[in-house]
Point group: D3
């Protein structure tokens, strides 16, 4: 039995709140149960130096956690003087994942920065960030189309992310903190609407996992991704 009483293939309540803050070109509060992340998308008419003159844009991401988004207070990274290894790893993952959903040539010579700030954590902050970050990016791109800057939407297809794992010997979908902190295996999937993979990151925390377990996790994940993309579409259609 899962601590939350959920079925093995049951996601937590997922909620995407449109325009949660007012300044960003796109802004979404994403909730996977008690995990809450503010995702904003900023569009700037500049590109990183390594892309100069290539006629294409860029998508990048930054990730942070409020010091008291967690059960015990974490040191503020701005005060520590650098972003920790986990932060760096996560924001690189978010950036790669969202770039896969955008045709950078169609975006033109501009950049989108996705900021994902966790205000409350309960497991799955990186998958929530990718799912909500995609939604914020889509909102921001809408503004470019509405104001005539872009004539064609550079989005290729929806991208979402969910975690799967092996918890007490059983493959489960969308781990919360109680499961994540003791699971044997934790795998984050980033997938597209057509069921293909952008990222698979599976880590055996305790015991290596077999090919059979991996296949079971991939099946659970595909189900979760489908539900998340429906949520994204519903929010964008509001």
């Amino acid at each position: 039995m899962r601590p939350s009483g959920r079925q093995t293939d049951e996601m937590r309540a997922v909620r995407l709140t449109k325009n949660f803050t007012k300044h960003a070109e796109g802004s979404v509060l994403v909730e996977f149960g008690d995990t809450k992340v503010i995702c904003t998308a900023t569009i700037e008419e500049k590109i990183p130096p390594f892309l100069k003159g290539q006629g294409q844009g860029w998508v990048t991401a930054e990730y942070g956690m409020l010091p008291r988004s967690t059960g015990t207070r974490m040191r503020r990274e701005a005060s520590a003087g650098k972003q920790g290894g986990r932060t760096v790893e996560i924001q690189r993952l978010i950036g790669r994942s969202l770039r896969a959903g955008v045709d950078l040539a169609k975006l033109g010579e501009r950049s989108i920065t996705i900021d994902c700030d966790v205000i409350q954590a309960d497991g799955g902050t990186r998958t929530a960030s990718i799912t909500g970050g995609f939604a914020a990016m889509a909102l921001a791109l809408d503004t470019l189309i509405k104001d005539g800057t872009l004539t064609e939407n550079p989005l290729i297809q929806n991208v979402a992310s969910v975690s799967v794992g092996v918890y007490q010997g059983t493959p489960v979908l969308d781990l919360d903190y109680a499961e994540d902190s003791t699971a044997e295996t934790d795998m984050n999937l980033v997938m597209t609407e057509d069921g293909r993979f952008i990222e698979v990151q599976g880590t055996a925390e305790a015991e290596p996992y077999s090919l059979e377990e991996m296949n079971a996790m991939l099946t659970l994940g595909a189900k979760g991704i489908k539900e998340l993309i429906q949520k994204q579409k519903a929010m964008l259609a509001e």
Copy 2:
């Protein structure tokens, strides 16, 4: 006329939302109009080295802004590798202000860390942080009393903060961003329930201000502080 149409002595709508996030000992979302700050209070059973063996506690504060809490994206301080001068100045002000509301000897050898994270900025983030930070601290101290750790409440009296200024030649209360960015003088007041001063920080941005202008600002400020302390009490009584 003020850009918002407010009277010279009229504050913005102020809202304090109790227990906005779940992990902290005290958590408040404070809103001064469109300025929104998450304030959390963390209690830890440790004190900074310079207080060792003195039988008293400590209160400190940290302040941050989400990168897109503002009209144009600000660089994340964790990524820049250090907190900027403005951040340092503000968090020192919050810490000093809140320490003035607590009897540190009654607090005992433990520390309270107030984190103030701006999720949307529209002027007055430091005064909102002090006002909401006090409320979060009060909630956290309640938990220590309820669980029997403390028998006496170390709070001395309520502390709140508001800005006043001279805008187009007229003293006004609680400046929003449209006023703050062009005001001749900007003054932040931190005051106690009995009408005395903890901090007065008045800066002439353009033109030095006279004693008469200062007195007019102090009168406006006292009115605002009274209203804010009523809001704090109402929230704590919920």
Copy 3:
């Protein structure tokens, strides 16, 4: 009685030594009693990026203390790898204060950097820095006028700074370290020759202060500022 035996409205011996070092465009050793600060003004034909193309100049300040300017050795900030919060706060205050004395449009597209380095500290280093920094800036501007770079002096009026406070229940002028370290309230005033305020920063270290105490402090401060501006004028006339 004050530890130094001074009257409540009596300043320490103040001395401004012109051209204390030889390389800077303006250089002053300022002494408020045993507090000694080297202030230099550097003029550079460049402006910070945010002012590009606005036809105006800039004034900024940096502040430091020699490691053994104090009773116990302080860690060198260059070795610690960053400027502490107190340093940042002070140098921002000095910069704002001195900018208020200069017509930045008349200065033209050049910048003045005021370096204030404390070689011996005994309370009031920031007020001595502002008072001496203004004098160094005035000397540097003289060189621009003498060499014909400027035809009109961009100085608006003299700016000086002094501390006041409540020490053992009594308002006093120009606190030395013995007073400052135990005063109930410490207030730094930056004022212009015509008696108006540029900055008021009053902090209750122990007990909040009343409006009556504030008014008494402002009166003392105005007296001290007048004396300091006379010293500045005498030095500049040498």
Copy 4:
């Protein structure tokens, strides 16, 4: 056709040189074709603070590249003042992977640090580092057994790593730089001798990959891992 002329399931020439340097407890030069990494294992009788009193040890890793291990010179991270995101990501992966091969309780309260320094890069530096790092760790553990510090070998089973990918539409094993820099998908596998997974990290660089492609890559990877573990065993048996 692969640029190197290799078969799709053919690894580059792999060489493990025992005791490449003299000071470390374990030292191996690992070569995957033109990729050359010095792996050293250091044993220290101390553990990180978070493990104090739990009666177990720790394995961690650090990774670096010589500035001119690559075609164009990379800035030295020690001079840049911090480890880049890619470095952080890789050394966390190496550490997690090698910990999975060791029974930390049997290791006792001591730590093993694996340093992987790339002296020449041609793709696959992280998989070479894990494969060579395991071998260095095994050599270091041998010294603890030989000198009687440990009576039982804490190694659980061999761990090795190889990359697979989709290059010009075809799944291939062990990508070199020419392939890696243009492949559609790049996947790093860390596996155990019994064919289970410790880490799967697959990234679609250009085009999302299907479940069929993933399965083909896993099959290639399992073949490569088997060959690498034979090389490890041969070197340890020398």
Copy 5:
């Protein structure tokens, strides 16, 4: 002819001012012509970790330049966030040099920190720092003897430092900035009262130097050192 009109073996006017500032255990203003350095010695009853339990003390040094000690303003190292290579090199040299003048076992388990802060630079700041730093250290040790902490003076013999060089083909003593910036060779000597060497650091800036030139420089240096040690002794005897 030298720019200053000095003879080839003639030092600049050297002055050592005792107790230049009041807080340090030893404090000296050292002047080599227009080069002016404040040297302070701080005694602390603690030693660095690597000396724990060895029954001996330590001497270390830090060096800094005020931003406007030079003809054009240098960036403040505290603001740059680190000490530059030249600073690090110089303070290591000062530390090594002064340790050679002290019997660290007789000093006991305490440390002396020499701070050398250049307030005006005109060439030879490192040699002035060593010469003045030794004098400050001697003053500080006197306080330990006077208050009975030490019964025996740990000083072995006087240490001083001077530069020599080849300027326009001629060996000269004590280079000022005008010479130093164009000299073919610059050599810093640290010597003891009995004429032996602690440090010789000779650098060919333009043209390698011959053995004959080196010998001529060493002879000049020995003369300068003798004069400097007389100045030290005179100041200490005041």
Copy 6:
């Protein structure tokens, strides 16, 4: 007797391996006995800002040690966040020394970066770095001549470096770690083929050294330099 059994004027076995790695314009593995350093030379068509428009090039160096190049593991500087003082000192020495061997005007507006990375240390890493770094630079310059970028070789003459010292009262040549760590005096010499000096850095670690000892060391050093330059020439002629 020396720990290694060598004669007082006998160098360790010296080996220079040409083209040790494949990417750099010049690459050499230099061995002085058990001290092994990878030296690479990188040519870039850019110069540092302070040389802009002067029609000359630049040579600079960076130095590092692998964490386990030494008997106990050293902390990785990239992880510590900065290069230590010893590293900074050494890489400045290498840069100065190699610049002395090159006519920077003939080099033209391009820069050479010498990276010296110690993979195994046994004393004398800086002298090996200079000796091997010169050889790598010469190889890199050859490529510029062969491809017609340069028509004239900017090398002036060979530069090499060796250490000398006083070990147990006797001057010796080329100290290994066993000698270096206990020697009374350690002196590094950088000399040209014609027997002149580029750098002399002699430090009395324990006891000041006399003029006689210095002369004896210089004689030993000249002998070692001659042998090293022969090795350089032999390698370049291969």
